[in-house]
Symmetry: C2
Subunit: 317 residues, 2 copies
Amino acid sequence: MNAPELGLPMAVPAEGLPARVRVHEVGARDGLQNEKATVPTVVKAEFIRRLAGTGLTTIEATSFVHPKWVPQLADAEDLYPQVLDLPVSLPVLVPNERGLDRALALGARRVAVFASATESFARANLNRTVDEALAMFEPVVTRAKAQGADVHVRGYLSMCFGDPWEGPVPVPQVVRVCKALLDMGCDELSLGDTIGVATPGHVTALLTALAEADVPVSALGVHFHDTYGQALANTLAALQRGVTTVDASAGGLGGCPFAKSATGNLATEDLVWMLRGLGIDTGVDLGRLVATSVWMAAHLGRPSPSRTVRALSHQES
Amino acid sequence: MNAPELGLPMAVPAEGLPARVRVHEVGARDGLQNEKATVPTVVKAEFIRRLAGTGLTTIEATSFVHPKWVPQLADAEDLYPQVLDLPVSLPVLVPNERGLDRALALGARRVAVFASATESFARANLNRTVDEALAMFEPVVTRAKAQGADVHVRGYLSMCFGDPWEGPVPVPQVVRVCKALLDMGCDELSLGDTIGVATPGHVTALLTALAEADVPVSALGVHFHDTYGQALANTLAALQRGVTTVDASAGGLGGCPFAKSATGNLATEDLVWMLRGLGIDTGVDLGRLVATSVWMAAHLGRPSPSRTVRALSHQES
């Protein structure tokens, strides 16, 4: 059957969902950090530039961790000045005060720290207990906020649902670390399902508990991985609880779905498709975004795992 | 990081969802019908046998259409007697009275007809108008129901959300055909998003309109395709409206995700993972189901597109 194909879903709003969602694009940082290939700086800069041209307003650019930890992002000092002229927010990851100094020196006004909800992952990722890691972040957050009212600090929280060593993570444990991050001055949290085991009821339970602990939903973002195909259903559950910030990775960058260690970020295109269908404004031009992901996939030498990218780029071919 | 990985999500029920869902497994019929390779009859029989061993209770077995239309299922007469001893429901597709006769002669007690919600697809698939197709099915349904109270008739309805020629499909148009199928005696309908363009608000709108038209939700199943990655989010929206019958295809069989004409059935494993996470009983052993899909993928010579199959089979390797 040869027939014209649809490029966009029909918009049918659902009750009780937000009118607008801010997509926090993590492909250039969380995505490329977890790709095997190290991408040349010039390609990263062009990628961020193209992402900014799609209408995305928040594009996490890189990470000022020690190059030994994340060699894929060792070029942060070179990259960041190349994109700083873009009229979008360009958050960067900072693990400690040294990283904060480097980021601030280059003009960063949005920074992010990354904590863990579980002791096992805090030990594995930061070689600290949860509380030791929080103590390490406190001066980072305090100093960042002291820079001025326009400096924004995001706190990533890993393993909010399940942990590969500890199994299911108790909701009160997550709430405690969220409160600690907000109390030290974080403007926003990103609730991470690092290993992709969350399901919608678990998402609702965590968001309900956070609301009951007086955490405003406006301070919460969600960060789902599609390891078991649950990321978009989990996002719907989060929208139904009032969340308006959703992390996603262009083209699903960050964990090849064919590799053993697949992490599988939620693809921005799949998210934007759903939000358009729900009549929720994101400001993102889906066609341009797909074209950007197809371009990046060519640089990485493998197709995007995003179903929307595949469907729409096949249409265009 | 080497660590034990989780094999199942934590069960966290959500309010307002059903306690139990019946998975209507379509891999052996809708799945294999849309695979390029024709699978030997003995492999199909073993596939159905293994699916029955996972706890699935409804396994659509084959189609009694003319072999010229669907050569992949031309062996229906050989296959069906080989699996009829299994203690599960084994529905078969029947396009007309001739197909019904063939199915009944072999002992089938669950049959399905397949209508279209749009004129374009009715013309393309059946070379009839929507009403001509309904008129063709009426004697099929009437004669099937006259066989006895234990004979169950399902009505598939294609293109319930979008149509490749007509674009978005108006909800009242779908409701009209649903009512006609139920009025002629269908016990159950399967609402198909044949090209995968549905989003959750559209699903809610259709189910709400059907409820307002006095269609009992117990007579409705949903059949989503994952072309744009929306199938599981759409399923969640359907569960929230009380739907308890969900079609899915083991391993996501039926449309290679790498092919231009990808149809992409919702993978049964991704569905069962979500339902387990929601504490919703399906009776399905996920490990056995994954093993069955891995076995079938080996016969087809390509990996399963199901994210859950990939994640869990990598763990097991």
